[in-house]
Amino acid sequence: MHTGVEPPRGVWWKPAHGAEKVWVGLAFGWCLVLFAMMPLWHWKGGQNPSGIRHTVDPEAYRARTQEFIADYKIGEEENGIPIVKPPPGSDIYLLGQMWLWTPSLRLEKDVEYVLHLSSVDVNHGFSLYPVNINFMVVPGYDYGLRVKPTEAGDFRIICNEFCGVGHHMMVGRVVVEDGASADGGTDDGSEVRVAATREGER
């Protein structure tokens, strides 16, 4: 027997002790379970970070967002941020910039939308409060997520990636309305569901 600071002499490639073999076996088995879980979850789970991903010119994204706002604007928040109510099932565009999210969204419960996220300056972090769902918003990349609000309420979008000295001021708003869908009460999930997307991925 020798310590870790002494050079072992001769052949040290020896069979492991039984206890060590059992432990390595258990640990390896557990790693295989974890290894299987992630792909399995990806196919079977309801909330995945994949999506429709494209590169986009930041100015083109800004123009697309402004067009989106012009099409579906229903008013303005007290602080001047435009309020937009897109038709059910449409593509919605959210723009991150120092230090605000535009527009303020009005969505309907239990309707699937494609939520596009991008930035026109630096990285931002999309963090939906209080459901606690987080995605990166990177300039030059359009991240399209299939989302289906499963709960009505007044939500906030906190920026959770440092984006300069006004970072802590950057908060946006999403209101989910319990719309016309009469059977809305059947899906009783307490989270905004980001549906698994197998189609439409690059």
Partner: protein
Amino acid sequence: MKGGFRTCPTTSLKVHRQADNLIKANAVVATVSLLVGGVAAILVLLTRWQAIHLLDAVWFYRLLTVHGMSMLIFFILFFEMAVLYFAGPVLLNSRVPAPRLAWGMFWLMVIGAVMVEWEMWAGRADVLFTSYVPLKASPWFYLGVILFAVGALFVVAIFFASLVVAKREKTYEGSMPLVTFGAATAAIIAVITLSHGAAIYIPTFLWSLDLMYVDPEVYRVVWWGLGHSAQQINVAAMVSIWYLLGAFTVGAVVINEKISRSAFVLYVLFISMASAHHLLVDPGMGPAWKIVNTSYFMYMAVLASMIHGFTVPAGIEVGQRLRGFRKGMFEWLRKAPWGDPGFSSLIFSVIIFGVVGGITGVTFGTEQINIIAHNTLRIPGHFHATVVGGTALAFMGVTYYVIPLIFRKKVAFWPLAKIQPYLFAGGMLLFSVAMTFAGTFGVPRRHWDISFSQALFDVQFSPAVNLVIAVMAIGGILAALGGGIYILITVWSVFLGKPMEGEVVYVD
């Protein structure tokens, strides 16, 4: 340059004069970096504790940048350079090859570090540790990082050269010790890491001079090849120190060289790809890339840590039993030297790294769980357990042996030294767990004001958040106190402490 060897009266190792001096120099600079990073840590902590909210926004983000760079880069890497000189030349009884180059590279690293610190404190690099493009710092900031990395890369090369020199000059018999082997894996990972660093910081430096374009997503991918792999240097170095401290404190044995060494090799093979888990909610990469890199590759590196988590305590038990503590199941544990700060640091480092850091880290590496954890306080909660409770604590523990063995000084304030690991580990445990809990409420990391008093819309966190943040602050203050005691002990011992008995004589 003066050479010569002394024989260590405790370990009988032959220690080269330049190895002694280089370890001392790197350890001193590491401690200075720890002090700078520690002061920033307290100020940042007292700002995030909303009840005090000490700094204004500009200085909060500035000192958060200082804290990250000083701790994760300068403190840890200077200390690791000392570890390489110890695990290579000292443990192998060898000389330091190319000592002039070694000193040149030490000073290059110091110049790089000073440049970076200068730019940060002057407010020309408020970009945080990750410095994500297109947030821009001054070119001097990036240049400083590049110089530092080049210096570190050369020191790693000198370490490899020392392995060759020792083998050729037959300064030891048999295979290299496990601790040296572990340090060699850390050095290999360092080459991977520093290459990523060059691949991203050189283009970013040119970008800061308006000479080229750097894509923000490409930056994130390559930068994390540096940012995460750097933590794997820490893991490999820390595990080597676990084996070292086990040997020094209780004569812990290596139960099976094959198992322990294979586990180190797993780190080299798999850990760098695991940096993909920082990009799980990024728009740049598809699910296949994310799943392969995080599930397949990361779990093989996790396996390595699980193996060490068994073999290190098992080696301690067998070592203790060989020393005569054979009664019952746990006499070896009860009669362990709990008053030796090297030993208590070792045990707490294994537990905090393995249990708190390991479990949180593996869960965040899952694509779907990452959605609810990304960029919340759960993330710093995790890495304060791994890097601070694990790596930094192991480094502190080994310092109590570096002071007498290398500096040839008695450890000052011994009663304080005995309790220092308990204070630091307890504080860090409280801090990490509370921070992780706060993150589960959706509290963002890197955020000056979670009361959102200046925000466009109001945000009301659950009142429980205030309580959890207060617990985090108390834990942080205890840990900072432990860190302060560590700095006091090391500085006092080295510069004002009593020398060990016996004259230090270097013989050619």
